[in-house]
Symmetry: C2
Subunit: 183 residues, 2 copies
C-alpha cells in the first residue's frame, strides 16, 4: 500500500523560497519574512535518524521517508520581534498508521523548539494536516500544493486546551530546484 | 437533507475584523490590510436577489441562504498598490447540487469586479473551497473555521489555464458580533 505521506514528501523535497506572513490576532500585528527552505529525504539508517529514535526509546521500525528540513531567513522587516528564529534545522520521521494518517516525530518543533510528536492526516483533496501538542500550546499546520512547484502552508497556534488563538500564519513557497545541498 | 452550505453561512453571518496578507510571488512583495466585514443572510425574496437572478436569466429557484457581504478597509499600509479596493459589497446566491457541492452566483467577483459563477465544494473536514473562472484569471478560495469565532480564508489567483500563479493571500477573521448592520 502506497502511503500518501511518501508522495507528499517526495513532492516537497528540494529547495524552496518562502514568503511568510504572521498574524497576531490579539494585537492585530503583522509580521513578514522571506526564507530559504531545503528539504532532503534521508537514508533510513542515517545516524541522525537512529539517534533521534534512540533518544525517544522508539524501537518501531515502521517509519518511511525520514527527512531533514533546514531554513534560513533572508530578510526580516519586523524588528520588533527579536525572538524570531532566523535559521534552524530539524529531522522528521513519519510513522504511517493507515494510507492517510500517522505520527510524525520531530527533533525540533514548530511552535516550541523542543522534540515533538505530532499526529498527521490527509484531507480528501490531499491537504496535509499536522497537529502538535507542545508544553503550553497546540499547533495545527496545513500544507497543500497549488501547483507542482508552489505550495501553501498555514499554521495556527492555540493556547492550551484550544481556548484561545495566539497566532496564525501563512506561507507561500516556490520551488527553486529539486536539487538540494547536503543536509 | 441539510446542505453543508447552510451551516457554513449561518456560522459566517455577523461582523468580522479581518487581517489580510497578500503575497505577489513573482515580485516577492507583501501587502497587508485590516478590514471590517459584515455578512448578512437575506430573505429569499429580497429584491436584490430577484434582480440578480433575472439579470442572469436564472429561473432555478433551488437556491438557499442567499447573503450579502460588505467590506471596508480600516488601514492599508501598502500605498504602492493604489488599485486596492477599499470598500465594496456583493450579493451571493448558493445553488446546492449535493450535500457538499454546488454553484455560487456573485454580483461582484473576488479577483475581478464582475458578476461571477463559481463552483464550490466542502472537504471532509468542512473546509469550504470555491473555484471561480474570470475573464483572465482563475481564483481558488478556501475558508475554514479555527474556532467558532475565528475563521481563515486563503486565496490563489492563477493565470488563465492555471499555467502561472499571480498572487496568494491569507486572511484571519475574528468575529466581533453576531449582530449585523442592515445590509
Amino acid at each position: 500500500m502506497l502511503m500518501e505521506i511518501e508522495q507528499f514528501i517526495a513532492q516537497s523535497e528540494g529547495e524552496w523560497r518562502s514568503m511568510r506572513s504572521g498574524h497576531s490576532l490579539a494585537f492585530q500585528q503583522f509580521e513578514q519574512i522571506i526564507s530559504h527552505l531545503a528539504i532532503k529525504i534521508l537514508d533510513r539508517n542515517d545516524s541522525r535518524i537512529i539517534d533521534l529514535l534512540k533518544s525517544n526509546n522508539i524501537s518501531d521500525g515502521n517509519y518511511i521517508s525520514p527527512f531533514h528540513m533546514k531554513w534560513e531567513s533572508e530578510t526580516d522587516w519586523d524588528h520588533n520581534h527579536s525572538s524570531q528564529i532566523s535559521s534552524g534545522s530539524t529531522i522528521l520521521i513519519p510513522f504511517p498508521k493507515t494510507k492517510v494518517n500517522g505520527l510524525l516525530l520531530r527533533s525540533q518543533g514548530y511552535a516550541e523548539p523542543i522534540e515533538s510528536l505530532s499526529t498527521y492526516h490527509f484531507l480528501n483533496d490531499g491537504t496535509f494536516i499536522l497537529n502538535t501538542p507542545y508544553q503550553k500550546t497546540i499547533a495545527e499546520e496545513r500544507i497543500w500544493f497549488l501547483s507542482e512547484k508552489v505550495r501553501s502552508r498555514s499554521s495556527v497556534i492555540y493556547t492550551d486546551k484550544r481556548l484561545g488563538i495566539i497566532q496564525t500564519s501563512f506561507t507561500s513557497e516556490i520551488k527553486l530546484s529539486n536539487r538540494h545541498e547536503n543536509a
